[in-house]
């Protein structure tokens, strides 16, 4: 962490007057503030690429765009060591199963950045039979970055937006410091099509309706 004035002054939250000779080393601040400050400036993204967008993600990490300027260059290959999941590409039904597992394996606090049109909503391949319409149908997303693929500048803007979001959080309200265990996302199942266990009821209702309409030959309402 650099000891530059801007950083520390920014940290001096209640604007407590500090003698000039100590300004480069001392700040008076709140717990939230210093906690978020350290978190935001040392994110460890998961080393995880999905599709074309991952190529731009790599370019963002390389020399010209240099992600390390934001303290985000330590990419970890293991989800256990990462706190940011960059979903960089098309999410397929076959892949969503491992992705949810990976997300569940990441320790809290954790954040998700949906990079590009595909991860945000299905993108150009949305109508495909093996494509999930956006990662947010399964796991919560913090920042969406538009583009196909987003340019490195756009991705960096996404990172900065995430940092802002983190800086505005409070230890009191973030979900991961509530008492009790946080719930894991149920892992989807590969059936005749992808099955989200959270939709089990809906699927049963539709099967019942379909069965009823087969028995009575009266058409059942198609809309749930």
């Amino acid at each position: 962490m650099t000891h530059d004035d801007r950083g520390l002054k920014g940290l001096n939250n209640p604007d407590y007057p500090i003698p000039e000779e100590l300004q480069s080393t001392i700040a008076v601040t709140s717990l939230d503030r210093i906690y978020n400050w350290t978190r935001a400036k040392s994110m460890w993204p998961l080393l995880f690429g999905l599709a074309c967008c991952a190529i731009e993600m790599i370019a963002t990490a390389a020399s010209r765009y240099d992600l390390s300027r934001f303290g985000m260059e330590v990419m970890r290959a293991s989800p256990r060591q990462a706190d940011l999941l960059i979903v960089s590409g098309t999410v397929t039904k076959k892949m969503i199963v491992p992705i949810v597992r990976i997300y569940n394996q990441m320790p809290e606090p954790k954040y998700v950045l949906a990079m590009g049109a595909c991860a945000s909503g299905g993108g150009p391949f949305k109508e495909g039979y093996n494509v999930v319409s956006g990662i947010d149908t399964f796991i919560p997303v913090d920042v969406y970055v538009p583009g196909c693929p987003p340019t490195p500048q756009a991705l960096m803007h996404g990172f900065l937006t995430l940092q802002k979001k983190i800086e505005s959080q409070s230890l009191r309200t973030v979900p991961w410091y509530r008492s009790g265990e946080s719930e894991a996302i149920p892992v989807p199942i590969l059936g005749p099509d992808i099955i989200d266990p959270r939709q089990a009821d809906l699927i049963r209702r539709h099967a019942e309706q379909a069965a009823a309409s087969r028995d009575t030959t009266t058409p059942a309402p198609t809309e749930a």
């Binding site: 599709a51 190529i55 010209r64 076959k94 391949f125 590969l190 992808i194």
Partner: protein, 621 residues
């Protein structure tokens, strides 16, 4: 040199090989073969019962030793049969493809497997089984490959409909001219991209066990043969991927180990299967161009090239077709060769990653790539997904100047005439970058010990397994489509086909350096051509958004950085392709992966994979 009728050079007047072959074959198999006489079609139709025999004769007697592409077509409502289409080549002589086909009914579709003739048919037949539902008798491992076991139906069949299905053809009436855009989710009862069979319930449903994937792996291999004498080892099944830093994307391999030695390896893919072909058959011809960018997303420009060529072949069947103007061909080759440089730099950088030199070599290797991307961006508007070529040319001429916008504080803002930029890039920067890589890496002790003699692919095997591109040429087979079946302006350009003879990782690394140097040689010859043709047209005919594509079939192929990229396109005279298939080099090169890895150590797997250089967008499509 200007105004050369380019298309004419590409051997249009050559004698028709099909008639000759057909004559030779019908002597031996009088009832089994006949010419394909449908309008716009060519090639031979073979009776399924004789398929293996005819294929063997083609290989052994007529010299067609290389199976390039095998794919299925569904002729629903047009004869109601499924058809398997094979493209084979003579790899030593070169020349165009011989096409042969076998028909099978749509219900209980079955054909004999050609794996015994060309082992390279392996993954392609599995794909046809998965997506079209053709059973291949005699295939040792006929399982789904891109989708999962238990998936409902075979999606590339014409009567198979997705959850978000709206209409067979784009543009959808609701959007154009209707203008009533809706979100596909709104019409789906689950609000998602899912649909289940009517009688499907979760109760009593047991999802397929992951263990079934592992069952039967590595069986029938003698542990003792591989083990060092006196050393007790254990059989172990290790799963690499789909999330793994060295699988170049979401690729998965299941490796059976004896101690640390690899007994067998099974690739598992489909984690990025984004239904490119199904979507491509719904798009109008021109709408599909941007989708080809996303196949091999490192080489979007040359993907465009291949697709444009395939559709141009179809257009050439019509009366009013004009080939692309000369300047357009020069620009296309310029883009394709730049792409090759980009791709090989990337491949070398990331091979080093896989060898354990984490990221530093890659940073050096992809430095120059940014300059080329700047040029792409200035020309086509995008760094990666260029969507640059059109049928009959390219959509825009090179810009006058390459200008930068000061987006980054440490970026040098560029503003210079395009030709000056290209001059210095091609004559100075790129050669310097290659020499630098060469100097740092080639003699490196680590490179040599990790790569020499590892992952060897002998030439006969490289041909049998249908490998293409640098993988094939590093095994001593000098096959390069730019020379063997020339297209565009390659005949008038001076370059050598790079070839290496050991077929190991080291040679596959070296050949990429060689190919970058050859590409630079080509690029240098393009500079004067660009200057001479300045101001000339860059596209022929009208810039129609939906050209009328005559009925027929066409196979357009280019020498992509990763190997032969082929587009098999069938038009029924409508707005969109009836069948659109991509022969993806990354996918087919993987057929040989298992053979290359056997007997090596587990740590070598990622290096071998890195040396094949795959990209998942194209592998899974």
């Amino acid at each position: 040199m200007a105004e050369k009728p380019v298309a004419e050079q590409a051997g249009v007047a050559a004698p028709d090989p099909v008639a000759e072959i057909l004559a030779a074959l019908s002597e031996q198999y009088p009832d089994a073969v006949q010419a394909d006489t449908r309008k716009g079609y060519s090639g031979i139709v073979v009776r399924p019962e004789k398929l293996v025999e005819v294929a063997t004769a083609l290989r052994d007697q007529l010299g067609y030793d290389y199976l390039s592409s095998a794919t299925a077509v569904d002729y629903l409502g047009k004869g109601d049969h499924l058809e398997m289409v094979y493209h084979v080549y003579r790899i030593r002589q070169g020349g165009p493809a011989l096409v042969f086909k076998a028909l099978t009914p749509r219900v209980s579709a079955t054909l004999p497997s050609l794996i015994s003739v060309w082992p390279g048919a392996d993954l392609q037949e599995r794909e046809a089984y998965d997506l079209m539902g053709i059973r291949f008798e005699g295939h040792p491992n006929l399982k789904r490959i891109l989708l999962w076991e238990g998936f409902n139906g075979h999606p590339l069949r014409k009567d198979w409909k997705e959850a978000y299905y709206e209409q067979d053809q784009k543009p959808f009436d609701s959007r154009w001219p209707g203008g009533k855009v809706h979100r596909a989710e709104e019409n789906n009862p689950y609000g998602r991209n899912v649909s289940y069979p009517d009688d499907f319930t979760l109760e009593g449903y047991t999802p397929p066990d992951e263990n079934s994937i592992y069952a039967g792996l590595g069986m029938g291999v003698s542990m003792q043969e591989l083990a060092s004498p006196g050393l007790e080892t254990e059989r172990l099944i290790v799963n690499l991927g789909p999330h793994h830093p060295s699988t170049h994307g979401v690729f998965r391999m299941i490796v059976t180990l004896n101690g640390e030695t690899i007994e067998s390896l099974e690739p598992v893919m489909g984690y990025l299967h984004r239904n490119h072909e199904k979507i491509g058959e719904r798009n109008t011809f021109i709408q599909n161009m941007p989708f080809t960018d996303r196949l091999d997303y490192i080489s979007s420009m040359s993907n465009n090239f291949g697709y444009a060529m395939a559709v141009e072949k179809l257009l050439a069947l019509g009366a009013r077709y004009q080939p692309p103007p000369y300047r357009a061909e020069v620009i296309r080759v310029l883009m394709a060769e730049f792409t090759r440089v980009v791709n090989h730099l990337w491949a070398i950088g990331f091979l080093l990653n896989d060898l354990g030199a984490f990221f530093t070599p890659a940073l050096y290797a992809i430095g120059e790539r940014e300059l080329i991307l700047d040029f792409f961006e200035a020309t086509a508007g995008s760094r990666l997904m260029c969507n640059y070529m059109r049928f009959g040319g390219v959509f825009k001429d090179l810009p006058e100047r390459i200008q930068g916008i000061p987006l980054l504080t440490n970026d040098r803002v560029r503003n210079e005439p395009t030709m000056d930029f290209l001059d210095s890039l091609i004559n100075e920067r790129l050669p310097r970058a290659v020499d630098e890589l060469d100097r740092y890496l080639t003699k490196s002790e680590i490179m040599i010990t990790r790569c020499e003699g590892v992952g060897v692919l002998p030439p006969e095997m490289a041909i049998a397994y249908s490998t293409a591109g640098p993988v094939l040429r590093a095994s001593g087979v000098p096959y390069d489509i730019r020379r063997s079946d020339p297209y565009s302006i390659y005949p008038e350009l001076d370059f050598d086909v790079a070839v290496r003879y050991n077929g190991d990782i080291y040679d596959r690394y070296l050949i990429r350096l060689d190919e970058i140097r050859q590409s630079i040689r080509i690029l240098k010859q393009l500079l004067p051509r660009l200057r001479e043709t300045e101001g000339q047209p860059i596209i022929s005919g009208t810039k129609a958004y939906s050209p009328r594509v005559p009925e027929g079939e066409a196979y357009g192929r280019v020498e992509n950085p990763k190997g032969e990229l082929g587009f098999y396109v069938i038009s029924d005279g409508g707005q969109n392709a009836w069948r659109y298939h991509v022969r993806a080099p990354s996918y087919i090169n993987l057929t040989a992966l298992s053979e290359m890895c056997k007997g090596h150590k587990i740590a070598d797997v990622v290096a071998v994979l890195g040396s094949i250089d795959i990209v998942l967008g194209e592998t899974d499509r």
